[in-house]
Symmetry: C2
Subunit: 296 residues, 2 copies
DNA sequence: CCAAAACAGAAATAAAACTTGCAGTGATTG
DNA sequence: CAATCACTGCAAGTTTTATTTCTGTTTTGG
């Protein structure tokens, strides 16, 4: 007889000590929990090919009074811990983690996005939107794998007629770039894992010059975030897998939409202006010099 | 008496004809369906402040034999139609679509990723991975808002020592770029919505020169996909909202992981080489000339 | 304002879901 | 090889859940 608490994990723990039929039940609960939470004991017995009595005894063995108590526990687990993303992973787990199965990758991304729901502090998010809207100019720093993030946000903000400038260069050139940045501007920096020399320089100089910094990162160690005015925490999955830029990209997108709603009519006007300009020049030879990308 | 089929929508339809107490039940089912699917009739009666008899009559009014049948129907609805993303949206719908609420944006992204589970054809995905691994060189085309995607994939593929070259220029320069591209190469193009002049040119020339094209798009109209050898369909949400690059980014990431697994040891070696190079030069003055970005 | 109809809840009844005792089975051990 | 033990399903009980009936109440239409 074992003390109960979280039936699901408890089952995994005691699994080896279970009898043949009881293992059937345990397997069922572990693998098909999302179906089982809706079953009555009769349905479950038929589903698993086990007698109802065995199920009751199984529940009691786990320290419950009876089956309904076990089920309640499973429902609780199902609702609290089996997040939608986890459920999805489970649902495609018949082909587990096949790198040639898009679904398996997408499910992981969904899980990361879910984590970000908890991780991203909404006050910081609101502050970030506000800072972008207020800034005189916006300088975006992202190197290597983060260049795409800086690029993306720069492009979108520019479309709102905000003065967004992408600065992907690192090293000594950094200081030259810095000469033009002022207090009223905003620096947006994308930097993950741990601080590099360049990143430290960037943060120190911006602190010195009192330029506000919005930092997107997945690391909250002090050297990373010390000088940042606003920090957006973007979880990117556990080590061991290739880090994905999906969550930071989602945050970018949320920022863009947030900024758009803050700007309101201004944003609409800016987009309209762009659209008009395109119309005007579309058939001229000039056409190929301006971007034609034509989503909104 | 009404014919049954999908209780949930049926309830919404007949809502106005319901009595006061029955509306209570309907409200409960519509708003708190995800809790109610786990309730017995007794629990539900207490929860709603309605007698059990009324619930049974409600179920029968809807054309069911009794309460268990209605519940079964709701469970079915809950499991089939309330996708995880939809559930999440529902769960944060107390603050509906607040543009200053990160959760509200993230929930939408999750929904899009879910759609992509259906939309992305896995055969195409596998072909795409194969094509990338086989290609002599890879030329990536993405303009405007898609530049970030091309940039991202270029960076990652380069890290595997694949010869990935980003080509963001449009217009006449395009032809110059083309002189160096050959049959054994691969073109990866990101283009959404509808074909532009530049895009048509790109596709026509590549068809002429028989260079295989991997196209990522959200539009399947013939002019878009005619000449593409492999098409990856990346849904980006309904019109009216700003299109997000989260799904294409997720596909990028899936491709990267797919390629990594195909390359196997080769990929590991390439990454190791990079890491060694960093170690060697990290403390020298040379350091700032190479990328320090240090996630995997 | 009153009668007829519709409605809702309490209680009784029916139907399940659940538990337990018992006997049969097969494995283990002395 | 027989005795023991753990395990299981059957079937008979017990409890919980679901339905129906009955009765008082509210609503509706004249």
């Amino acid at each position: 007889m074992i003390t109960k608490s979280d039936s699901y994990h408890q089952i995994i723990e005691v699994y080896d000590d279970l009898s043949r039929q009881q293992k059937k039940i345990a397997d069922g609960i572990i693998n098909r929990c999302d179906e089982i939470v809706f079953f009555s004991i009769t349905q479950l017995a038929n589903f698993l090919g086990v007698s109802e009595a065995t199920i009751v005894r199984f529940a009691q063995h786990l320290g419950h009074k009876g089956f309904p108590e076990l089920k309640e526990d499973l429902v609780k687990y199902y609702r609290e811990y089996l997040t939608p993303g986890a459920r999805m992973r489970r649902s495609i787990e018949e082909f587990p983690d096949d790198p040639l199965l898009y679904k398996s990758h997408a499910a992981r991304e969904i899980q990361l996005l879910e984590e970000s729901l908890q991780a991203v502090d909404n006050d910081s998010f609101v502050q970030a939107v506000e800072a972008i809207v207020q800034a005189e100019r916006i300088f975006l720093f992202g190197n290597g794998g983060n260049e795409c993030l800086a690029n993306h946000l720069t492009f979108r903000l520019s479309r709102f007629k905000l003065k967004a400038i992408q600065q992907s260069v690192s090293g000594k050139n950094l200081f030259e770039k810095f000469l033009q940045i002022e207090k009223s501007d905003l620096i947006i920096a994308y930097h993950f894992y741990k601080p590099t020399i360049d990143f430290r320089r960037l943060m120190e100089v911006s602190a010195e010059r009192e330029v506000p910094v919005l930092l997107m990162t997945d690391s909250l160690v002090p050297p990373m975030i010390r000088h940042a005015k606003i920090v957006l925490f973007a979880p990117r999955g556990s080590a061991g897998t290739f880090h994905s830029q999906v969550v930071p990209m989602a945050i970018n997108n949320a920022l863009i939409n947030g900024v758009a709603s803050k700007l309101g009519n201004k944003a609409v006007k800016a987009l309209q202006e762009l659209s008009d300009m395109r119309q005007k020049h579309y058939f001229s030879d000039f056409s190929s010099l301006i971007s034609h990308e034509n989503d909104q």
